[in-house]
C-alpha cells in the first residue's frame, strides 16, 4: 500500500480519525455548513418531492449560473445574484408555469422554458463579462471547504428562516399539494401557497448553492427526501429519515474526502445516489413481500360492516 507522506491517514481507530478531521477549523466549518444545508434542503426537498416539483427545483438550481455571472458583470457579491435570480425564477415558474389549472405536462414544459431562458441569460452575461469567470467551478461544485465564519452564520440564519416558514405553512401546503380542490373549498389560498412554496424553494436553493454548488444542491434536495418517501408513507418518520439521511450523506462524504484526493462533492453525490438506490430496492422488496403475504386482503370490494 502506498502511503502519502503529507496527507492524513485513516485507520481503524474511528475516534482518532474523527478527531483528526476536527482539528482543522475549515473542516469544522464545512461539517457545520454541510449539516445546516442538509437539514434545510432535506425538509424543503421533502415537500418538493411530494408536490412533484423536482423539475422546478432543478430549474431554480440552474438560476445560480445567471445569478453568479450577472453578479460578476455588475461587480456585486455573488450571493446577491443568487438570491435575485432564484427569487425571480420562483415567481416566473409560479405565475407563468405553475398555475394550478394547467396540466402537469404543460407546467413542466413551461418550467423548461424558464430554465432555458435563464441559462441563455447566464451565457450572455459570461460573454459580456469577457474575462474568465473564475468562479465557474465553484458555481457548479461549490466551495464547501472554504466556508468562512460569516458565511456559516448567514447560511444558518437563512436556513432557520426557511425551516420556520415551512413549518408555519406545513399543513395547508400539504393539503393543497395532495388535494387542491378540497383545500380551496376550505378557503385555503391554493395559488398563493404554491407561489410561496416556490419562493421558499428558491431561497433554500440559493443559500445552498453558494456553498455546495448547483450540482450538490440537487443531491441534497432530492435524494434524501425521495429515499425517505420510498421507505415510509408516514409523514413525521419520513421527515426524520430525510434529515438523518441528508446529514449522513454530507458528513460521510466530507469525512471520506478528507482522507482522499477526490473532492467532497463527488463523494456526497455518489453516496446520496447509492442511498437512493438502496432505498428503492428496499421498498421494492418490501412491496413484493407484502404482496406475497396478503394476496386477498387488499382486494377491493364491498366490505362487511359498511351496510348497517
Amino acid at each position: 500500500m502506498r502511503t502519502e507522506p503529507t496527507g492524513p491517514t485513516i485507520g481503524w481507530d474511528v475516534v482518532r480519525d474523527v478527531s483528526q478531521v476536527l482539528e482543522y477549523h475549515f473542516m469544522v466549518n464545512a461539517l457545520l455548513a454541510g449539516g445546516v444545508v442538509a437539514v434545510m434542503a432535506g425538509l424543503v426537498g421533502w415537500m418538493m418531492v411530494l408536490r412533484r416539483e423536482t423539475f422546478a427545483g432543478h430549474t431554480l438550481a440552474m438560476m445560480a449560473f445567471p445569478g453568479a455571472s450577472g453578479a460578476a458583470l455588475l461587480g456585486v457579491p455573488a450571493a446577491w445574484g443568487y438570491f435575485a435570480f432564484c427569487g425571480a425564477g420562483a415567481l416566473a415558474i409560479g405565475r407563468f408555469a405553475g398555475a394550478e389549472r394547467r396540466s402537469w405536462s404543460e407546467r413542466s414544459a413551461n418550467t423548461g422554458a424558464v430554465q432555458a431562458l435563464a441559462l441563455a441569460m447566464g451565457f450572455l452575461f459570461v460573454s459580456l463579462y469577457g474575462g474568465v469567470l473564475g468562479d465557474l467551478e465553484s458555481v457548479l461544485f461549490g466551495n464547501l471547504l472554504g466556508v468562512s465564519d460569516t458565511q456559516l452564520l448567514g447560511l444558518t440564519g437563512v436556513a432557520a428562516a426557511a425551516v420556520v416558514a415551512l413549518a408555519a405553512l406545513a399543513r395547508p401546503l400539504l393539503f393543497a399539494s395532495v388535494d387542491s380542490d378540497a383545500a380551496a373549498a376550505r378557503g385555503l389560498p391554493v395559488q398563493a401557497l404554491s407561489i410561496s412554496f416556490l419562493a421558499l424553494l428558491g431561497l433554500a436553493v440559493a443559500a445552498t448553492s453558494q456553498i455546495t454548488g448547483v450540482m450538490l444542491v440537487f443531491a441534497l434536495l432530492v435524494a434524501p427526501a425521495a429515499s425517505a418517501q420510498a421507505l415510509t408513507a408516514r409523514p413525521l418518520p419520513s421527515l426524520g429519515i430525510t434529515v438523518a439521511l441528508g446529514l449522513l450523506v454530507v458528513w460521510l462524504g466530507l469525512g471520506i474526502s478528507y482522507y482522499s484526493v477526490y473532492p467532497a462533492g463527488f463523494f456526497i453525490t455518489v453516496i446520496s445516489f447509492a442511498v437512493y438506490l438502496l432505498a428503492r430496492l428496499f421498498a421494492m422488496a418490501l412491496a413484493r413481500r407484502s404482496r406475497e403475504r396478503a394476496p386477498a386482503a387488499s382486494r377491493p370490494g364491498p366490505r362487511r360492516g359498511v351496510i348497517s
Partner: protein
Amino acid sequence: MMMAPQRASSAGAERPAGAHGPRAAVAAVEVRDAAVRLGGQTIWRELRLTVARGEFVALLGANGAGKSTLLKALLGLLPVASGQIRVLGRAAGEANRAIGYLPQRRTFDPSTRLRGVDIVQLGLDGDRWGLPLPLRWGRLGERTRSDREQVWRAVEMVGAGPYARRPIGELSGGEQQRLLIAQALVRRPGLLLLDEPLDSLDLPNQAAVAALVAKICRERDVAVLLVAHDVNPLLPYLDRVAYLAAGRAVEGTVQEVINSATLSALYGVPIEVLRASDGRLVVVGQPEAPAHHHDRHLLADGAGDRHAD
C-alpha cells in the same frame, strides 16, 4: 421551533345547530331562482332547490348539465348572477367550515406517499397553520388525542380501518373514495356535498358506497346532496331528487321527477322512462349535454348528439 396550532377551531363552535337547536327549521340548502354564468354562458337559471336538515337528496343530470357548478356555487366558489343561495342559514361561502365537500373525480397518483389516515386528518386540520406540537400531556396533548380519535371515528364510520394505514396511492378506487368520504365527514359537518362519489366504481362498490352515505345521513343526522349520473344505486335511500337539464332543474320525489312527462317537459324532447322488473329505472332518449358550452343552443333545440362519456 414549531408553532402551536393557531386557529381556535374548537369543534363545538364550528358545529351547526343540530336538529334540536334553535335553527332546526333552517334548511341545509336553499336556492331561490339562482342563475350562474360562466365565460359569458348561462349554465342554469331560475334554479330552485331545497335540502332539509338530515335529508338525502340526489342531484342528477347528464355530463355538462351544471351539477358541479351548482356545488361550487353552494360553496361560494362561484358567484351567482341572480337569485339567492342560503346554506345552513348563511350566505354561500360563509358556512364552508360546516360543510363536508368531496370534489369530483380525484384519484391519487400511485406515487403519493401519504397514508389514507393522513388524508383524512387533512380534512380535520389541513387548514390550520403551523405544526402540531407532538405533546402527550397538557391541553395541547389533549387536543392531539381528541383529533386523533375524531379521525379514527371517521375512518371506522366508512369501514376503512383495515387499510387506512396503507399509502393512499396503492389503494383501489373504492377504498380511496371511502377515505375521501371520511375526510369530508371528519369535522362532523351539517351538510355533505358529494360530487359523483360513485363515479368510476364497479357496481358492488357503487351499492356499498350508496348504502354507506345513507347510513351516515341517518346516524349523523347530516344533510346530503349527492351528485350522480345514475340514480339506480341510490334508489333505496333517497328522500328526494333534483334533476338538472337544459339549464333548468326540477325537484321532487323520485316518482315525481323521474317519469316520462316531467323529464320530457324539462328537456323539451320526448323522453321515456322505463322500469325494469328489478325496479331499476332506465331513462331513454335524453340528449347528453354538449361537451362544449358554446354548443348549448343545440341542446335547447333538442338536437344535441349523444356524446360518449
